[in-house]
Amino acid sequence: MPIIVEKLTHTYMPGTENEHVAVDNVSLTINEGEFFGIIGHTGSGKSTFIQHLNGLVQPTSGKVTVDGFDMSDKKQRQKGRALVGMVFQYPDYQLFDSTVLDDVAFGPKNLGQSEEEAKKSAAEAMKTVGLDPELFGEKSPFELSGGEKRRAALAGIIAMKPKYLVLDEPMAGLDPSGRRDVVATIDALRRELGCTVIMVSHSMEDVARSAERIAVLNEGKLYALGTPDEIFSKTQELIDMGLDAPQTARLAEALRQKGCDVPESIYTNERFIEWFRGLKHV
C-alpha cells in the first residue's frame, strides 16, 4: 500500500498578515519500495510537505494517508507514524542519551519493546549504518564526528523498522567521505531492508544518482513529477528556478547551446561516458 497525498494545502498563520501558503494543492502517490526524490530550493515548501508524511503537522486542507491510515485522525496517525521514519537534517536535533546505543534504542522503546529487545534492535540498526556497536555503542553521541552523528541519527530511526524512510537533506554539510558513507548506507538499507526511501535535497547531484521518481516543488506547488529522465530533460527550467542542476546535465545543456546534439537522458557522468563511448564506435 502506498502513501497517498491528496490536494494537500498547508497555510501558516492563516488569517493574519503573516499568512503564508507553504504547500499549495499538492497531490502525489509514493509507491512501496521506490526511491522517491523531492527537490526544491529553500522556501519551496519541501520541509513542510515531508512533515505531513509523518503527521507532525496537520493539513489546512487535503489529506495524507499512509497505507490507508488517515494522518489527520489522532488514532490512525499513531499507526501511520510507526510506518514512516523521519530523519531530520541536523542530527543534533535528536541525539540526547548518554550512550549511542541507548539513544538508538529510544525509538524502539517508544514502540513498546522491552529494554533488551530495544537494545538488540539498536545494535542491529547500528550495524546497518556501519557503526560497530562494540566500538560506538558505549560512546557519548556528542563525541561523534559529523558523519558519524548523522549515521547514529539514521540508526535511531531505522531501529524502529519503518517501512518508509524520509531523509531530509541527508548529505548537507558533510565532507566528501561523509557523503560517500551516507550514500553507501542508503543503498545498503534499500538492498537489505527493502525500505521505501523518500529523499529531500536541493543537491540534484545526489537525487539524480539514485532516485527512481522525482517531485519538484516550487513555491509550494508541485512543479513537476516524473522519472529522472523526464525531470532532467528540463535542466534549463530547473536552473531558472534557482535549483542547482547536476553538473553533467549542465554540461549537456552547454553543449546543446553550442550546437552539439546531446540526448536529453544525459545527466550523470556514467551516462555521459557511456554515450560518448557509443559515439566513438560509430
Binding site: H41, T42, G43, S145, G146, G147, A172, G173, L174, D175, P176, S177, G178, H202, S203, E205, G242, L243, D244, P246, Q247, T248, R250, L251, A254, L255, K258, G259, C260, D261, V262, N269, F272, I273, F276, R277, L279, K280, V282
Partner: protein, 278 residues
C-alpha cells in the same frame, strides 16, 4: 601578508593528545584568493582560527603583516586586519537589527558614530542587503544571514577575509551568493580571501588550493595542478569536482585528449569540437 611557520597545535594536553596541526608552514600573499580544503578533522578550521589570534599555536609562529599573533598587545590590531566569517550563520549575529549587527565591529573599535553609519551602509551595499537594514536577523534565510555576517566583517575594513566553511550550511543559492561576494571583494577591493571549504567545486575559483590532511599541508598548487592529482585526493578522503571526474574517466579511455579543464564551461569548450567533428 600572513606567514605561518612550523605551527603545532593540539586541543588537549597530555601524551595521547591528537595533534590538530603538526608542522604547518604556509604563506598567504596580499591580494591572493586561497582555498584550503581537507576532510573533517584535517585541521583546516583550526588553521583558519589561527589567522586572527582566536587560537594561538602551541609552538611555531603566525605573523600577520609582521605582527606575531602570540603578542597579546597586538591582538586587536590583528583582528582589524583579518576578519572571519564562520560556518553557522545563526551563531555570529549578535543583535536584533541587521544594521546594528553590521555596526558591531566598528562600535567595538570605537569608530565615531557618523563614520560607523557610512561603513555600515557601504558594507550592506557591498553584499546587496541594503533593503534588509532594519530587518530582524532571525527572519532572514541562511544565505542572507551569511551575507550580513560578511558585511559585519567588511565594516571593520579588513585586508584579509577568511571564510571558515561559511557555505557549508547554505543551499545552492546562498552558496553562490557568498562565493560571488568573496570573488568580487577579491577582484574589486583587492581583499585577500582565504576560503576554507569541503566542496571541491568551490575550490576551483581560487588562485591557489592548499590541501590539508592529518594536520599537515598535503599538497598545494593552482586548482588545475591539484585536480590533476585525483587519486591522491581520494586517498586522503577527498574528491575532485564532478567535471574533473568526468574528464579523468574520458581521458582514461582515450575518448578525449588529456586536458586540465575544471568547469562545465571549460569541458564544453573541450568536448564540443570533438562532437561537431563527428
Amino acid at each position: 601578508m600572513i606567514s605561518i611557520s612550523e605551527v603545532e597545535y593540539s586541543y588537549e594536553d597530555g601524551e595521547d593528545a591528537k595533534k590538530a596541526l603538526s608542522g604547518v608552514s604556509l604563506e598567504i600573499r596580499d591580494g591572493e584568493f586561497v582555498a584550503i580544503v581537507g576532510h573533517n578533522g584535517s585541521g583546516k578550521s583550526t588553521l583558519a582560527k589561527m589567522l586572527n589570534a582566536l587560537i594561538l599555536p602551541d609552538s611555531g609562529t603566525v605573523t600577520v603583516f609582521g605582527m606575531d599573533t602570540a603578542d597579546e598587545k597586538l591582538t586587536l590590531d590583528i583582528r582589524k586586519k583579518v576578519g572571519i566569517v564562520f560556518q553557522n550563520p545563526d551563531n555570529q549575529i549578535v543583535t536584533t537589527v541587521v544594521e546594528e549587527d553590521v555596526g558591531f565591529g566598528p562600535e567595538n573599535l570605537g569608530v565615531p558614530t557618523q563614520e560607523i553609519r557610512k561603513r555600515v551602509d557601504r558594507a550592506l551595499e557591498a553584499v546587496g542587503m541594503t533593503d534588509y537594514a532594519r530587518s530582524a536577523p532571525h527572519m532572514l534565510s541562511g544565505g542572507q544571514k551569511q551575507r550580513i555576517a560578511i558585511a559585519g566583517v567588511l565594516a571593520i575594513r579588513p585586508d584579509v577575509l577568511v571564510l571558515d566553511e561559511a557555505t557549508a550550511m547554505l543551499d545552492p543559492i546562498g552558496r553562490k551568493a557568498v562565493l560571488d561576494i568573496a570573488k568580487r571583494m577579491n577582484k574589486e577591493l583587492g581583499i585577500t580571501v582565504v576560503m576554507i571549504t569541503q566542496y571541491m567545486e568551490e575550490a576551483v575559483i581560487a588562485d591557489r588550493v592548499v590541501v590539508m590532511n592529518e594536520g599537515k599541508v598535503a599538497m598545494q598548487g593552482t586548482p588545475r595542478e591539484i585536480f590533476r592529482r585525483g587519486d591522491e585526493l581520494r586517498k586522503i578522503r577527498l574528491d575532485v569536482p564532478v567535471m574533473v571526474e568526468l574528464r579523468e574517466k574520458l581521458a582514461a579511455e582515450s575518448l578525449i585528449p588529456d586536458t586540465d579543464a575544471l568547469t562545465v564551461e571549460e569541458m564544453a569548450e573541450e568536448i564540443c569540437p570533438l562532437l561537431l567533428k563527428n
